[in-house]
């Protein structure tokens, strides 16, 4: 296996590879080619990269127009700006108008760490989940990222992909099957289930490893597709394990945890349940790692919560 790299790098490499074979693949950037690792793409395929400058509303509108004319468009911008500044363009010009733009939110969550909340996207799942006709993906590792990009390029409907810029440990073997809307069990277990997405999946795996030493057998599900959510995987976890702990690099409001809670409640499932994410407060200053540690998004922090909510030890 190759050494782990940032998902962002995998995205850029995969996209270049695809675009070299398909002239209709077009990238649109808002002065974000450097932060999107797309400098090389622009050098190799200058005619397939559209730069609109620091103008995210225009980025998404232009992307919609290109998609309406048959281009396979990836609109790439930091997730914080893409999903807030141009929210109305996403809602109307992409989703409502059904032009199949692949919106790519880079450096998502608290990837930008100490740059502060202007640069954090802790709202994007919540905002976009309420928009009809938009698939939402947050791949966990390099393998999932590559598979998600391949699936996105083949998809003919609007889609939002988000990932961070730190190198992430491998979660899956290289031959792990991937399909949009189908969660992946990264680790089997019968006591408690971690349901995570994006870069927090590997933290859940580490927590599960710690808990194994305490004879707590933890399942880890990578819920890489937040919408449509894999309800079957969730119900199965609720039936087969005693508690569910959700984990995300997002506000505790309106994201993965809230989506899971709604499914479980409406199916009458009863199990221990806890949402772990960034709490509803002024986010502390620090690197992504420091912010995670501050809010207990670490293997040790999760292990402590898991014990509290009662994954039954055998």
């Amino acid at each position: 296996m190759n050494p782990p790299r940032p998902n962002l790098d995998i995205f850029a490499d995969t996209l270049l590879e695809l675009a070299q074979q398909d002239r209709d693949i077009v990238v649109v950037t808002s002065d974000s080619r450097g932060s999107g690792k797309l400098t090389r793409f622009g050098q190799v395929l200058p005619d397939q990269l559209i730069e609109v400058g620091i103008a995210e509303q225009n980025l998404v509108g232009v992307a919609a127009g290109l998609a309406a004319s048959g281009k396979k468009v990836f609109a790439v911008s930091p997730a914080c700006f893409l999903t807030a500044r141009s929210f109305e363009q996403i809602k109307n010009d992409v989703a409502y108008s059904n032009h199949p733009v692949r919106l790519v939110g880079i450096s998502a969550g608290v990837s930008y760490g100490a740059l502060g909340s202007t640069h954090h996207s802790l709202h994007d799942f919540a905002a976009l989940r309420a928009v009809h006709n938009l698939t939402i993906l947050a791949p966990a590792d390099n393998h999932e990222t590559r598979q998600a990009i391949l699936a996105a390029a083949d998809s003919n409907s609007p889609l939002y992909l988000r990932f961070g810029k730190a190198a992430v440990p491998h979660v899956h073997p290289p031959d792990q099957p991937f399909a949009i809307g189908r969660a992946i069990t990264a680790r089997p277990g019968r006591d408690l289930t971690f349901v995570a997405c994006g870069e927090t999946v590997s933290i859940a795996v580490q927590a599960a490893e710690l808990l194994a030493a305490d004879r707590l057998d933890c399942r880890v599900i990578s819920m890489h597709t937040l919408k449509p959510l894999d309800e079957d995987a969730l119900q199965q976890a609720a039936e087969e394990t005693h508690a569910i702990l959700t984990l995300e690099e997002h506000s505790i409001h309106g994201g993965l945890g809230a989506a899971c809670a709604a499914v479980l409640m409406q199916h009458g499932m009863r199990c221990g349940f806890k949402i772990v994410g960034i709490p509803d407060e002024h986010t502390v200053t620090g690197s992504q790692k420091e912010i995670f540690k501050h809010y207990g998004i670490t293997a040790e922090g999760l292990a402590a919560v898991a014990k509290q909510i009662g994954g039954k030890s055998r």
Binding site: I50, A67, A68, S69, E88
Partner: protein, 274 residues
């Protein structure tokens, strides 16, 4: 395709009658703004645009975007008359569960993009014009903006990009009727000097009488006004054009005519065909 303006004059009157009739029936609609853009749509769809119901799926077709989506009644009226959908369907405007909503969507044959929120049409038009350039297609893109919506910053982002990419296959038309829902544009948030602003953004600008079919046809036929520049047609129009008591009245932005007003308005319009 080329219809002489003398033949189009009668169509404008018929379009205005239809616009009023369907707004009256629906008890909803944007009367003033629909009447101000009827002549522009008439010339575009009857004499300029290379698009028809048969060619609507053709990648080489010309595109029209109705950024001032609230004037949906004018667009629906012209599309129906051009055969994109049955004219009888106009009677379902805004009715449950009609596809003719108060703002146009792609559910309606002939509509390229869902509009209604302002400041959205132009960026999408820029994307379409870019795609045509990238593919070496002959198709052109026309987008109609209301003047009130020029306060939306997204328009100016898009104008910069249109100019940067030298999109001379793009024609931006501004329905400069001077009024918006709260009052005259110059009182709400002054737009002038508008032509100078567009020129400063790199567009080739022409000011035309937006109700003179000859002038509209002549200018639309001459795009691009300059090679390598997007064209901008500043169409000087009258909100509520065609009916004396509706013209230039802020209150008619989305006022629906009473029975009496409707009868007088139709009589006035019929007088114009004699």
């Amino acid at each position: 395709m080329m219809n002489p303006p003398s033949l189009l004059q009668a169509k404008s009157v018929e379009y205005r009658k239809t616009v009023l009739r369907i707004i009256k029936q629906a008890n909803a609609g944007h009367t003033g703004g629909s009447l101000s853009c009827v002549d522009i749509l008439n010339v575009l769809y009857n004499a300029v645009l290379n698009v028809s119901p048969a060619t609507f799926g053709d990648p080489d077709r010309d595109r029209y975007l109705h950024s001032k989506g609230h004037s949906a009644e004018a667009l629906y009226t012209v599309l129906a008359e051009r055969g994109f959908f049955p004219a009888a369907e106009l009677d379902t405007l805004c009715r449950y569960p009609s596809r003719l909503a108060g703002h146009p969507t792609r559910d309606v044959p002939g509509v390229e993009h869902n509009t209604g929120a302002l400041g959205h049409g132009l960026p999408v038009a820029v994307g379409m014009a870019l795609a045509a350039k990238m593919d070496g297609r002959t198709s052109r893109v026309f987008v109609l903006l209301g003047d009130g919506e020029l306060a939306e910053g997204s328009n100016w982002e898009a104008l910069m990009a249109a100019s940067h990419y030298k999109l001379d296959n793009l024609t931006v038309i501004v329905d400069r009727n001077g009024l918006q829902i709260s009052g005259p544009t110059e009182q709400v948030n002054a737009l002038e000097p508008l032509a100078e602003k567009f020129r400063a953004f790199g567009l080739a600008v022409r000011s035309v009488d937006g109700h003179n079919l000859h002038q509209l046809l002549e200018n639309f036929s001459q795009v691009p006004f300059e090679r390598g520049k997007p064209s901008l047609v500043l169409a000087q129009t009258i909100k509520g054009k065609g009916i004396s008591f509706i013209e230039n009245q802020v209150g008619w932005h989305h006022h629906v005519p009473t029975d009496e007003e409707y009868a007088v308005a139709i009589a006035e319009l019929e007088g114009q065909t004699k």
